[in-house]
């Protein structure tokens, strides 16, 4: 039985792995921020905003982590994935 495309699989697998890794970075970071917020809800002052100062409401570490992950996913990862796809298509 002929398998003419088998020799291309490792390179394709590497490309798929890279794309999957990039697409997972943002959601994983957001999830870590969310898990931190669940484990230490008192760090998320938006859950009990009454009487909090402006800085306590603006700077909440679990939310900062989640926002960093969200910004990465939307601003960096999305166009990077399309560039990676374009680059891989040109390399094939």
């Amino acid at each position: 039985m002929e398998t003419p495309f088998v020799h291309q699989l490792p390179a394709d697998a590497v490309r798929a792995k890279r794309a999957r890794a990039i697409s997972l970075i943002g959601p994983t970071t957001v999830a870590l921020g969310a898990i931190w917020g669940i484990l230490q809800p008192y760090r998320v002052t938006l859950l009990h905003p009454r009487g909090q100062g402006v800085w306590w409401l603006l700077i909440e570490p679990p939310l900062l982590v989640a926002v960093a992950g969200l910004i990465f996913a939307l601003v960096v990862a999305k166009p990077l994935l399309s560039d990676l796809e374009e680059h891989d298509a040109a390399a094939r």
Partner: protein
Amino acid sequence: MLPHAEMVHWGFAAGILLVGLCLLAEAIVGQEVWRMRPWRRYLWPGIAFGMGVLLWPVMAFFTNSSIHMYAHGSWAEVLMLAGGAELGLVHGRLRSRWWRLTWPLAFAVTGIAFIVHEQNPWFFARSAFLHHLLGWTFVIAAVVPLLLAWRPRSAVLQGAFAAVVLLVSVQLLADRDVAPVFGHLSPIAGAQHR
């Protein structure tokens, strides 16, 4: 009206986290793909340079002793130098790869400043512990950007650089103004925060 010191640390930690995520992505896809869009090549060096600029107001408004002022001032200087050199390199204005030695210099200066300006022992309070830990992390990890100056395309070294930056971010996020560390809090540290 000024935020607590711990909040400033968390704000910088978020910026460092974003830099770390970008470095990680660059290590995964490689420099060729990462630099396909012009704006992306300036992204993490720009954030690093911007954080260096922002360290000056931190130095002016948040330092309560000469040694704190020198430490924050030296961080501002080396971060601006390394971020600016990286911006020059990706733009093409700077051509010598030895400009990348500004990163190990920044790491070494930052680490030494952390260790020297922390006057209390490791288990005095969490902030003291983290200052010592951050200092030694920077001093030991300076070898990573040093090796990157010789092998700038090494994916392993790029990944290690990203991991160090992410580790620094986690350490800064763990900071509290007055809080115990592994159950230890000196009675002279002050009232524990929530």
